[in-house]
Symmetry: C2
Subunit: 310 residues, 2 copies
């Protein structure tokens, strides 16, 4: 029996994908066992738990599991980097069951400097699913720490981290902008208004417009329940404003979202206000990236259905 157990192992969650030997995704599991929320027994117990009942297959993990606070720290691989280079740079850690867990290193952009762990695997998964994007594209991976990554000729050439999701969370929970005392409404117009405020801030940028969230409320011009959507629009709009100012995106750049549908939909709505039409996001990119890197590294050999029948 051949195949792969692929692990997308982040700070707050762990997802496991079992591939059969044709590269078909046979089963997916998720547990809340990110590296900051491990069960008793640590990484070994989490792995044994999430893979319970699965055959003893090669295992490959990406994400914060390879960070200083993870299972084993993997040095970042410097840009530019393509899938072949990343596949050659895998490391491993010996699990309590006596078998290795292979680990994908993160990427480092020495120009920033900037770093990513996990998103590199999503990028190569996206390229595996949509090879036509490999020539020249900019990928947007929204999240706690959003990434904008430039790909040329199949290699990641540069990227930048924007702390959009984390800023939204800390401002909502700990700043005066979150002290509305109201349940959050779902207000698409307030979101669009926030995006427009960031877009129209010109070179000054949305930092200088953050307080407008409060001032508009005091003015009676923004309902407290709509303030979260306005703030979300302001911060996501700022990503597009800054990316355009920075040359990470140009109006003729091929832009592609990678990520979960609901969050990506916000980015598509924001992009539309910059006259940028974003196609539907690529989902499950981590799983496909892990499979691609595993084949690249020779951890698995692909059997076509025909050869398997022999």
């Amino acid at each position: 029996m051949s195949g792969l157990i692929a692990l997308d192992w982040g700070t707050s969650s762990l997802r496991a994908f079992r591939f059969d030997d044709t590269g078909r995704l046979a089963e997916t599991r998720a547990r809340p066992w990110g590296i900051r929320h491990l069960p008793e027994g640590g990484c070994d117990a989490a792995l044994a738990g999430i893979a319970a009942g699965w055959p003893a297959l090669p295992r490959l993990a990406c994400g914060m599991v390879g960070s200083r606070n993870g299972w084993r720290e993997m040095a970042y691989l410097d840009l530019p980097a393509d899938a072949a280079q990343l596949g050659k740079a895998l490391g491993s850690v010996r699990a309590a069951d006596g078998m290795d867990v292979h680990l994908v290193p993160g990427l480092r952009d020495p120009h920033g400097p900037d770093v990513m762990r996990g998103e590199e695997t999503q990028l190569f998964g996206a390229l595996a699913r949509r090879p036509e994007l490999a020539a020249a594209s900019t990928f947007i991976l929204p999240g706690t720490h959003s990434k904008w990554a430039v790909v040329r000729d199949g290699a990641v050439r540069g990227f930048r981290t924007l702390m959009t999701g984390e800023l939204f969370a800390v401002l909502r929970q700990h700043s005066i902008l979150g002290a509305t005392g109201a349940e959050a409404a779902d207000d698409a117009a307030a979101f669009a208004r926030g995006v427009a405020a960031a877009r129209d801030s010109g070179g000054a940028g949305a930092f200088s417009r953050l307080f407008s969230t409060r001032a508009l409320m005091l003015d009676g011009a923004l309902a407290p329940a709509s303030a979260p959507d306005y703030l979300s629009g302001l911060l996501i709009g700022e990503e597009f404003r800054a990316a355009l100012a920075d040359g990470l995106a140009r109006r003729d750049t091929r832009l592609q979202l990678i990520g979960e549908a609901a969050l990506c939909e916000r980015y598509r709505r924001a992009a539309a206000l910059f006259d940028i039409e974003l196609p539907a996001p690529i989902e499950d990119a981590a799983a496909h990236g892990l499979w691609r890197l595993a084949t690249q590294a020779g951890l698995v050999s692909i059997h076509t259905r025909e050869s398997r029948a022999c």
Copy 2:
């Protein structure tokens, strides 16, 4: 006996100034009784406590004491506004001792919209002390919510709030940028480096550079103990970058700081990296502003030492 009890009453602290009838500041007291930290008995108890033993003089208060959560909500006065207009717009509340406490309204810039409470009094105090600045100046009032205010011909014409101090606090306490595990050092070079990173971010702005605080640490290029100064520089530098981009400051604008010496010194060091030389700050501006507005409103009549001798 004549004179004034002037109250600078904010969210977290209360300061009281006793002026004699010549306008001389005779005594200053401070208590931690901001409107969110009132003693038992509320505003009345705080006033009685801080003014204990002082004669029964007219009383004038500015700041968040005039907000919705203060003693009495005072409607904002719309821009443009000069000292005479603000003096005419005072309100009052009857204290438990049977005497009024007069209240200074905040200002509203309808263009933002944006609002201030307390800083308007500091602005007119600064103009009282430095009349030569009334013709054309931009004032910077650093703080939790920094204000940049444009004054022309003695009137406040526009202003903008930047949440620099609050952003620094929430990012330090609640985001990954504060999770350094190190005691903060006092690192002027790291501060300057943060200012330069904001300055050199061009039109993209410092939002897009926030994560560099973390990336530089992971890279071994920024000591964890120096991260707070780097972040402080990034955020204060962003104020100057955005103000220049926004036209709030031009390189030929007369810029003047108002505020406490240590914080203002950071702004002077940041300004120097933008080739802007800022003079020493105007301190105790709130007290002088309260005296000026009290005379403007006729709450006190000024006796010269000569007339008093009659």
